[in-house]
Subunit: 430 residues, 2 copies
């Protein structure tokens, strides 16, 4: 038996706003940040569990406070018990009734639970000597179902249906694992498309994206319609007709505005429109999806929890489902979101970028391919070439594809030197 | 000109869990708490703005951290500018893009904005020498529309429609103000119905509720169906056929479970079923509303923001709309929720109880009557007889009715002695 002896939290902020990387219609000046968590045990193996919540600057200290509020569920606890029953551990955290009041199941406290859950998965995978995607992809259908809490979901998916989905994907698991190692997983790049870049930089980055083998790029839109038309024309002329161009409005519009705006961009052959309006608006997205067809609606990175994903699927409000590694309550909740997507036949194309989101979320796409949907068809992982050097296992992306890591763990461990170099001093806080 | 010179935050917790007051199917042991905020200026009047977020214990420190993250929007700012344009002030706080990432517009950060907005309204009302309900109820339709941000709402209500609603309520404003002073506003009581009480206490409290003039009581349900049937039988036998009995499941059920459970309780003539499932589940509530008709569905106390309320109304997912004073981003957001309810013809019956929620939310019902819906018909404010003594102007409830306060301010100022007596020491924190 071993015990959790310490929880270390760190407020880490990178001064990205000075470069206008990451600028979009709603987020003009993000400072990519991580509310970071390290779980330390007294086990002889010396292994630690690392996890974090990605934020964009101010308020990262609030997110750290959210993680610290969960220490009571961790300190002094039996590691094997927590890791041996990750479904029960998830429920214990999410159904702490006093903390649940602060959401419920959304915002700072829910993301804090996600960081803790992901840190525990990191530790569990390191103990197993496997990268998270292989650990999960090799668990039995029964073990996978055990991870999921079906409360609020049974009108869309039952435990029996979930078991059927996992079981249907058992044949061919080993072949698909090998296929990932042999041919990777499709990626698309958002690097060319930030609103803060001038036209020349846009064109140059579009050319580089094609040269780097990406089959899809994404442009931020929603600031000004004439700018969007000009930028899309430049992009389309640069990449030619065969490269897919997706657009992302970052929640900028109301319902009718989204429909009108996208109809004007339709001539540029748009792969999808992402986050056209509030991530809470199921009915609004459903109306937009009908109004902008055949352009599919993509969303999910700001969706608070599994209940929101359920409804978007029930209402035909999205055509591309975008999970995020640190928005919901961690790996367990993302697994049930993968199940819902499989049940409704919608492809999952994760949100990534920020700090460490690429490193984390790739594991979930691999699990989707190996053990849930069984397909890479119409699926790809977002790629932004930012800040990877700060991680122990930076993503390996070339020829327009992600190549799966083999280092044991979740992928979320940041280098100790980076953590100390970019630790935000409380004296700097407002 | 005067300036905000200091922001004082306090973590206040009352040890209510020792009495089982407030116990329900999801919240067995709440410690009613307030993440409290005091805005101090250098004005010669010495007036302060007080506001808070109600929580149920653990995590109240996270909520305080959320409020502190907003200090940069307050310290050193011109008071007249902030108070003179409360719509712009609201937008500045809600659209701080870095902080918005932590929601967006939900959970800890959104509630923190609510505390700040409400504290500013408290100061504004004190400066006007009016209780908040009179300050708001006497503003012009144009001034009221200015308070509201219509982003994400125009598919349900436009600024022009809002103006029409406010203008239609101008005639008779003075008479309705007087009517409130003469005959109060209907209340209902939840005091008899907590799950932790035994049958004898339940019957005694039901009798007392009738003796106190309440026309409606509310019972917590959802723990065990046989217990619910027994407790409802006791309650119905005690109060007779003419007193309305509402039920509250506190988010306990899945969709089909809610329908099945409530069909078994229907014989007891149920006034409404409150929070049958996840507060995020628009489509689920719509299905439940169809399945349990003619029992209406009531919900709202945990609804994160105006976009959720909009959808519940669009989808016919509720028949009773329950605003909460400290869940959304303060007075401004609750005003647009009152507008949406008026537009869709749904009565507003606020959630209250906790710490200070009765004191705060009554003002919004009075504004609804005076300046929005113009009606008390089918409307009532929840009343729980807890912790009122800690406020400068405790609610005045008798003959089953709330009686409006005349003390200037929002009603949310807690006595200094209570604030210091129940301040939670960080040493006690886990």
């Amino acid at each position: 038996m071993s015990t959790i002896t310490a929880i270390e939290t760190t407020d880490i902020r990178f001064p990205t706003s000075t470069m206008l990387d990451g600028s979009d219609a709603m987020n003009p000046d993000p400072d990519y940040s991580a509310a970071y968590l390290r779980i330390i045990t007294d086990a002889a193996d010396g292994l630690e569990g690392h996890g974090f919540v990605f934020t964009i600057g101010r308020g990262n200290d609030v997110q750290v406070a959210g993680i610290r509020a969960l220490e009571g569920h961790l300190l002094g606890r039996d590691v094997e018990e927590l890791l041996g029953s990750m479904g029960a551990t998830w429920r214990e955290l999410v159904y702490d009734s006093q903390l649940r009041w602060l959401g419920p199941e959304k915002g700072v406290m829910h993301m804090a639970i996600g960081a803790v859950v992901n840190a525990l998965w990191d530790l569990k995978a390191k103990r197993a000597g496997l990268p998270l995607w292989q650990l999960l992809g090799r668990m039995s259908p029964e073990e996978l179902v055990e991870l999921v809490d079906f409360r609020y979901l049974t009108d869309a998916i039952t435990p029996a249906e979930a078991l059927d989905i996992f079981r249907a994907a058992v044949p061919g698991r080993a072949e698909r694992e090998q296929a990932l190692l042999d041919s990777g997983y499709p990626a698309y790049t958002t690097s060319p498309g930030w609103l803060g870049y001038d036209d020349e930089k846009l064109a140059r980055l579009c050319r580089e994206a094609v040269d780097d083998g990406f089959a899809q790029i994404k442009l931020k839109v929603g600031g000004d319609i004439d700018d969007d038309i000009r930028r899309l024309r430049i992009a389309r002329e640069t990449v030619g007709p065969d490269i897919r161009i997706a657009t992302d409005a970052n929640q900028r519009w109301d319902v009718q505005q989204a429909i009108d705006w996208m109809r004007r961009l339709q001539p540029f052959d748009i792969a999808w429109i992402e986050e056209p309006t509030s991530p809470d608006d199921v009915l609004g997205h459903a109306a937009i999806a009908r109004g902008v067809a055949p352009i599919p609606v993509a969303t999910g990175e700001h969706m608070a929890n599994r209940v929101m994903f359920k409804q978007f699927l029930q209402a035909d409000a999205l055509g591309i489902l975008q999970i995020d590694a640190t928005r919901v309550a961690g790996v367990n909740e993302n697994i049930v979101i993968l199940l819902l997507a499989a049940k409704f036949g919608v492809p999952v194309c994760p949100h990534a970028g920020g700090v460490g989101l690429c490193e984390l979320v790739q594991h979930l796409s691999y699990v989707d391919f190996v053990a849930v949907s069984g397909s890479r068809e119409g699926r790809m992982i977002e790629f932004v070439d930012h800040l990877h050097e700060h991680f122990l296992a930076p993503v390996d992306v070339y020829d327009g594809r992600y190549w799966p890591p083999l280092l044991p763990g979740s992928g979320g461990e940041m280098r100790a030197s980076s953590r100390s170099e970019f630790e935000f001093e409380s004296a700097e806080r407002v």
